[in-house]
């Protein structure tokens, strides 16, 4: 006897699948409160610049396809180049990573691990009046300059992008495929007991 088909069993199968979804944990993340750990090699939306190792060659400035990086370079008394002023306009930046790849020292410009550039209030207008930054006088929330670009692993951690040695220090990514159901949780708890 041929199998009994096409009497609407597809409807039942669909209902079964959705019913099984009821027991699963949800995969949405309540963003500001809960955050997923990003991939270690993520290109975040931070540019980090290291003053010590920078040789002020302006390779990153030339490599930048949108002209987001601006550097002012002069020679000091010891005939060495030094950076007077560097600004990165994160509003222009396309996070392509070409500045990192072009850097001859290999370590003086990083892409950050952060991905949230939003701020609640425009604070820079009133306070940031010092330095030679072009962001003086107008709101420069997305324009970072000089000391704001320096590395700080607590606030602005560096990404493992193009830096395999750095990637090892970062926490592993949370993958939603590893998300368990309530039933699996209960089973695992029973097994561990």
């Amino acid at each position: 006897m041929p199998p009994l088909k096409h009497f609407g069993e597809g409807l039942l199968r669909g209902l079964k699948i959705t019913a099984r979804h009821l027991g699963r944990k949800w995969i949405t993340v309540q963003y500001p409160e809960q955050k997923l750990t990003m991939s270690r090699r993520v290109r975040g939306t931070d540019i980090i610049w290291d003053r010590e190792s920078c040789i002020s060659c302006r390779a990153c400035e030339r490599a930048c396809p949108v002209g987001a990086i601006k550097m002012e370079v002069s020679r000091g008394e010891d005939k060495k180049l030094k950076t007077d002023d560097i600004t990165v306009d994160l509003g222009l930046c396309i996070f392509c990573g070409l500045c990192i790849e072009s850097c001859p020292t290999g370590v003086s410009i990083y892409i950050g691990y952060n991905y949230a550039n939003t701020t609640y209030r425009c604070t820079h207008c009133a306070t940031d009046k010092s330095g030679t930054s072009p962001s003086n006088g107008h709101c420069g929330e997305l324009i970072r300059s000089n000391d704001e670009l320096l590395p700080n692993d607590a606030v602005r951690p560096r990404s493992g992008y193009y830096r395999p040695e750095r990637a090892g220090e970062l926490p592993p990514q949370t993958l939603l495929v590893y998300q368990t159901t309530y039933g699996e949780d209960r089973r695992r708890k029973k097994e561990s007991r």
């Binding site: 009994l4 096409h6 009497f7 609407g8 409807l11 669909g14 209902l15 699948i17 959705t18 019913a19 979804h21 009821l22 699963r24 944990k25 949800w26 995969i27 949405t28 309540q30």
Partner: protein, 351 residues
């Protein structure tokens, strides 16, 4: 004190329907979220319970926009024409033995007659907006709802024949065994046709957002849109209430809970099924919807009607232990047998 009964019961019904609709909006959004592995609204109040209230306030405060080319009186009247019948249906739904606004001896006929008027409200909305999407949605609605009314009524007739009365209170009293067991086919046909009647997925062609913006609601805003939203959920509430009254035993149940509690539990169960269906099935095409009604549901409902009449006359239904397995088997055989004959054309013109 007839007028007192009417006044008090009308107030109770209004409170029941409005709070029921608010609960349903929350319940559907949360439930749909669970089916789709997401939390659903969870910001306003605990578990997002205040979300429908926030929505209602938002809708009330919105500007009421009437299109320049609209047929203004029709545009204004349409939400009312749709809302009032959806509300009036609840007049004959019993919440306990005799606890209903009006114990009409033609209760179920009254429901069918009244709920057909909603279609006119929806068509007025589509026509009055002078918008092609509104008109398209409204035309689909007319085609769909007029067709599905026939299997709907035929499936209800089975329950009516078993009870021997058109009054909903008497139908509930006649259910020693819930009619869903004696009329499984009737229940399935009723649920399918009712989903089409209240324009819910998979028959939500009239407001198919991916095709025709929002159908008849496109040009509505503010309180009028709110009324349509209210109508939609009041219809869902009424369909759940009718299904639980006709087929699931209504207010009757074990005595440790009062009658209205049983009715509410059954209503929520039926509505959960409706959400489940919505979370599962994609929207049908209009020709599929129509051919499903005329070529499949209508013959099935007619056969069910004749078979039920024969069973009632032969007295087989008096002994439930024979009747229940027999009816379940009969329903399965009829569905499988008729589905052999059913073809929709498979998405292309057959030559």
């Amino acid at each position: 004190m007839d007028w007192l009964h009417f006044a008090v019961f009308t107030l109770i019904l209004f409170a029941f329907v409005i709070s029921g609709v608010l609960f349903f909006i929350w319940y559907e959004r949360r439930g749909l979220g669970r089916f789709q592995m997401r939390p659903g609204p969870n910001r306003a109040g605990p578990f997002g319970l205040l979300q429908p209230v926030a929505d209602a306030i938002k809708v009330l405060l919105k500007e009421d926009i009437v299109p320049t080319l609209a047929d203004k009186p029709v545009h204004f009247l349409a939400p009312l024409v749709a809302f009032v019948p959806a509300m009036a249906v609840f007049a004959v739904i019993p919440f306990g033995d005799g606890a209903l606004l009006a114990d009409l001896n033609i209760g179920i006929l009254y429901i069918m007659a009244i709920s057909s008027v909603i279609v006119i409200g929806i068509f007025m909305a589509g026509w009055g907006s002078s918008n092609k999407y509104s008109l398209l949605g409204a035309m689909r609605t007319i085609a769909q709802e007029v067709s599905y009314e026939i299997p709907l009524v035929l499936s209800i007739l089975g329950a009516v024949m078993l009870a021997g009365s058109l009054s909903l209170n008497d139908i509930v009293k006649a259910q020693d065994v819930p009619f869903v067991l004696l009329q499984p086919l009737g229940f399935l046909i009723y649920m399918t046709a009712a989903l089409a009647e209240i324009n819910r997925t998979p028959f939500d062609l009239l407001e198919a957002d991916s095709e025709i913006v929002a159908g008849f609601q496109t040009e509505y805003s503010g309180m009028k849109f709110g009324l349509f939203y209210l109508t939609e959920y009041a219809e869902a509430l009424s369909v759940s209430a009718i299904a639980s009254t006709l087929f699931l035993g209504g207010w009757s149940g074990p005595a440790f809970l009062p009658g209205f509690a049983w009715l509410i539990i059954k209503i929520i169960a039926v509505f959960t099924f409706i959400i489940w269906v919505r979370a599962t099935f994609p929207r049908l095409r209009i020709d599929q919807v129509m051919s499903f009604c005329w070529k499949f549901l209508l013959p099935l409902a007619l056969i069910n009607l004749v078979v039920t009449a024969v069973l009632v006359l032969s007295g087989l239904n008096d002994s439930p232990w024979i009747a229940i397995p027999f009816n379940l088997l009969l329903a399965a055989v009829l569905i499988v047998g008729l589905s052999r004959q059913f073809r929709t054309g498979g998405g292309h013109a057959s030559t």
